[in-house]
Symmetry: C2
Subunit: 371 residues, 2 copies
């Protein structure tokens, strides 16, 4: 991960739950063999599985010294708090890790490498600080170039933050690979970058360049290694209806220029999350959400909603199945919880669209470039 | 301007036209008494009025030394190129100015203060470098709080970049002041900041915080000095249909939570500007534009389009009047060129809406906060 094999201790002090430690949970889900411990003194003695439902027997410990005894050599910041600041309580763990010569991986909006105390601790011990949210130096302006790709671009979009857009994109990508379809995953947030070892945290990019950076990532992914890929699965961000993050969502949508959208939702949530509150604006119906995303896409490059991905973690199996069936009936597209029930229905929808597209590409591209 | 009275030399080398030197033109239009010269060796000997249609007798000269002879004491960068970089040809003028102890005001995406050569020249001479596009240190997340203000928030929106959103907002604001309505102008781009001496360049803000920074500016403006203002006129950015900048536009729209929108357009332009090309995607009809802005606003806080502002600089008077009449007929709202024909019809539309709102505020606010 980020340049070499690592044995990670993930810092999630007082926060190791699926809701508050999104980055820890994502990395445990997809890179568990790289993780030796999670740091949360309020949950020490339990396993990752018990706290967060992922990560199996990875132990939760209190202090950096215990993670060191388990062989850790890198500290990863495992939360992404709204606003992106650094809780004071975490400073000592970071200083301790840097003092031991551990690299520190962070996806916070605040850059640890710019903190004089951390920077000098890293210099003294030879440790590296990787601030993956630091924007790329390039300043490309989006030009809708991804809209003319032969590769099928698929973007996950959502009803709110933290409803499963990254997980859904990765699950569909993996299912496509299993079906021998040449697919690439494009990470657009810090957790995705840790998992994929590549990408850009578009929410930290100066807003003029969100679409341009996204476009660059999609064009690069589409080129593949020699052989162009068939599908580019792009991780979405935020929501068009979120009062804080809608601009990130639209910049990403217009930069990626997807032909297909997969709508992600958490069925037990009826209001958006705003700050530490669960009481933000109400979430519109799936039908309204789909209409808004189609409209917004059409301003630059039309897209269809080809499936729904539900995060049913908070529901029992029967309610989860009923929610999928209701979503399918409401939008008349496949609906599943890709973690609980598998991503196959969504991967099949992508595959079908891919076949149609192969035939239609020439005509579509001509129409598109004529706009 | 920015801390003290200044005598500006505006750098617009090889670019002093309304199209390429937007910042120079805006500052000349509203702060001409502060400007002693424009630097453009390709147009030296002419007046600002001859080159850009604004600025009267302000002379165009070739070199910093000539501007110094005219009494200049500050260099302002007068262009805002797409991508925001610094043309190499301009470096010597900036170094020359800093060497003389002049402050340098810049709205480029690239920060002059971070350039080692400029920083050390400034240190040596005691000059200050003001990079007004450097984002505020605060990281607020938008929460739609501006949607519940008693003040009427009005945002200018547009069919493309550089169609008159800033100018229209300022012209309406000034007309409101003439009509004794307590109005504040909120600058969201570098030219507006130079003119108003306050604001934030939202296109340079990390995208997660565009709505939040805008919200802070609007709430601050609404408070006024003791007495709350009646109207907050917010400068819009970009366009919902622009493949590069739409995310800035939506973040700003949802941060400002306007009740009223004024749609800005340049009638002779049928394609958006993309890079140095005039051949971007086609511009939709005014009706489609208005529908898109209303839809996007409604995702967070519904807004009406209450007027159209046309930039008719490229048209003769008869064609300009016909274009205004056509726009009025198409959207059934007042339409004018606020520079050519005055902003009165738009200010009146704001005033009428203000009266309606005074009566309706209690009910509207209740509905809004219940969402």
């Amino acid at each position: 991960m980020l340049g070499r094999n690592r044995r990670l201790a993930i810092l999630a002090e007082a926060s190791f739950t699926p809701r508050d430690a999104k980055t820890a949970v994502g990395v445990l889900r997809y890179r568990a063999p790289d993780v030796v411990a999670v740091l949360d003194s309020t949950r020490a003695g339990r396993t990752a599985q018990q706290c967060a439902g992922v990560g199996g027997d990875v132990p939760v410990v209190s202090r950096v010294v215990e993670a060191a005894a388990l062989g850790a050599d890198t500290l990863m910041i495992g939360i992404a708090p709204q606003g992106g600041g650094l809780p004071d309580a975490w400073r000592s763990a970071i200083s301790d890790a840097l003092g031991r010569g551990w690299d520190v991986l962070s996806g916070l909006h605040v850059f640890l490498g710019d903190d004089p105390e951390f920077a000098s601790a890293a210099r003294r011990s030879g440790a590296k600080i990787h601030d993956v949210r630091r924007p790329p130096a390039s300043r490309p302006v989006g030009s809708a170039a991804a809209g003319a790709l032969e590769s099928l671009v698929v973007l996950t979009v959502g009803s709110d933050c933290n409803v499963g857009k990254m997980t859904t994109a990765i699950e569909i990508h993996r299912e496509l690979l299993r079906r021998s379809i040449r697919s690439r995953f494009v990470a657009t947030g810090q957790t995705g970058i840790f998992i994929a070892d590549h990408g850009a945290a578009v929410d930290a990019v100066p807003s003029d360049f969100v679409a341009g950076i996204t476009e660059s990532l999609v064009l690069e992914a589409a080129r593949g290694d020699g052989e162009p890929v068939e599908v580019v699965m792009v991780e979405g961000q935020g929501s068009l209806h979120h009062p804080g993050y809608s601009g990130v969502t639209l910049g990403l949508l217009h930069g990626a220029c997807p032909a297909c959208l997969v709508l992600c939702h958490e069925p037990t949530r009826d209001r958006m999350r705003l700050g530490s509150s669960n009481h933000g604006p109400s979430i519109p119906s799936l039908r309204e959400l789909a209409a808004a995303y189609r409209a917004a896409a059409s301003w630059v490059r039309p897209a269809s909603v080809i499936g729904v991905a539900l995060n049913t973690m908070a529901m029992d199996a029967e309610a989860a199945r009923a929610a999928c069936e209701a979503a399918r009936a409401e939008l008349e597209v496949p609906a599943t919880d890709p973690v609980r029930f598998g991503a196959e229905p969504l991967a099949r929808a992508v595959e079908e669209r891919r076949s149609v597209r192969s035939a239609a590409t020439a005509a579509e591209t001509r129409r598109f470039t004529e706009r």
